[in-house]
Structure formats: C-alpha cells, structure tokens
C-alpha cells in the first residue's frame, strides 16, 4: 500500500516554513525522503531508521514516529531552491525495497 502524503501541494513565500507529512498503513523499518525537480531524477535528502529518530541538515529536518507509522519533513526559512516535488519512501523489511508516497508539490515564490 502506497504511503499517503499531505498536503498534496503547497505554495510558500521565501522565508516561510512548511511541514510535509507521510503516513503508512504498514509497520516501518525506515523512511526515506527525496526531492524531485521537474524533468530531473529524485535526489536523496535523508533517511530515518525506526526508533523515533529525528534528523536534519541545514534548514531541512525530519522526524519518524514508528508507533504511528508516520514521518514528517520540516522545511524552515524556505528558499527558491526548495521548490519541487517531495516524496517519502517507506521500507518495511529493511531490504532497501522502498515504496514511494503520493508526493507533495512544493513551490516557493519570491
């Protein structure tokens, strides 16, 4: 079953914050976050392993609630370069086989 992301789309002004949520119906081993710009390959952002881990670099961070089978991606002080479609990917077995979520299209405007 494909993980469900919310919101489906969001428009931000530069400097604003955003949260993207990912919810799975399956128990999870890990959650992966990717960003894809139009016409390009998905780019890896970060991976979170089960254990309620929170990670971050620069102004992008993420959390993983294993019990709720949910993850959230936090973008703070958004930049124009953050525009793109964000996908969460879930791995239930620990074998790197990832099921990608429904996607969230994020647009940052000046």
């Amino acid at each position: 079953q494909q993980p469900v992301q919310s919101p489906q789309a969001v428009i931000l002004r530069e400097g604003e914050d955003a949260v993207i949520n990912c919810s799975s119906s399956k128990a999870l081993y890990s959650v992966h976050w990717y960003r894809q710009k139009h016409g390009e390959a998905p780019i890896f952002l970060m991976i979170l392993l089960k254990g309620g881990e929170q990670k971050g670099h620069d102004k992008i961070s993420a959390s993983f609630n294993e019990k709720k089978q949910q993850s959230s991606l936090y973008l703070t002080a958004s930049q124009l370069s953050y525009s793109g479609t964000y996908f969460c990917g879930t791995d239930s077995g620990g074998y790197q086989k990832v099921t990608f979520g429904t996607g969230t299209k994020l647009q940052v405007i000046p």
Binding site: Q2, A41, P42, I43, F44, Q96, V98, F100
Partner: protein, 113 residues
C-alpha cells in the same frame, strides 16, 4: 555516492516494438531497482534486479513484458516489450549498497506512438 549512467535518455518508439534501457554504475552495488514514473505521478517499483538470478517483480509487472538482466554488480538492463501507448513513461534505475539509501539515474523518457 555512485555515479549512475542510464541510456538512452529518451526515445520515441512505434507500438509493438521493444526497447532495452541500460543502467551502468561506476562501482559495485548490492541492490539495483527499476521504477516507472508516469507523468505527474509517484514512482512505482517494477522489480529488483538480482545479480546472477531472475529479477523479483512487483505485483502488476511480469517478466514477459519487462525482462530484466543483471549480469554483474555494476550493470543492469530493462526491456519494455511489445510497447503500447500506455507504456509511455519515465523509467528510472536506482542503486543501493549495504544500508546506504537509493540513488537514481537520470531516467529514460519513453514515448510510444
């Protein structure tokens, strides 16, 4: 991370024909995957390419339609057989090694006339 080369980058094909897509990595990797991404949609896993054995296909994808080879730890091919307009899509290979996350090739944009 590994450098992934996928060829061709795009192609336009006639219905009923077949196309083979190549994925080359600059280092040995344990896992190689093939995905399909239809316009405006998420990525759907077609199969896991297994070195030296038959690929593992996901529900809805069959070997006769999407034969996959993986002769070694750096190379894999995906063939899209007997193509129809519904096969128009972006096909992506990805690689992962050990517990490292997947990284993607640039994809093959396929249009069927």
């Amino acid at each position: 991370s590994a450098v992934i080369s996928q060829k061709p980058s795009r192609d336009i094909c006639q219905r009923g024909t077949s196309l083979t897509i190549q994925c080359q990595v600059d280092s040995q990797v344990t896992m190689m995957f093939w995905y399909r991404q239809q316009p405006g949609q998420s990525l759907t896993l077609i199969a896991t390419a297994n070195q030296g054995s038959e690929a593992t296909y996901e529900s809805g994808f069959v070997i006769d339609k999407f034969p996959i080879s993986r002769p070694n730890l750096t190379f894999s091919t995906l063939t899209v057989s007997n193509m129809s307009p519904e096969d128009s899509s972006i096909y992506l290979c990805s690689v992962a090694d050990g517990d490292q996350p997947q990284h993607f090739g640039d994809g093959t944009r396929l249009s069927i006339l």
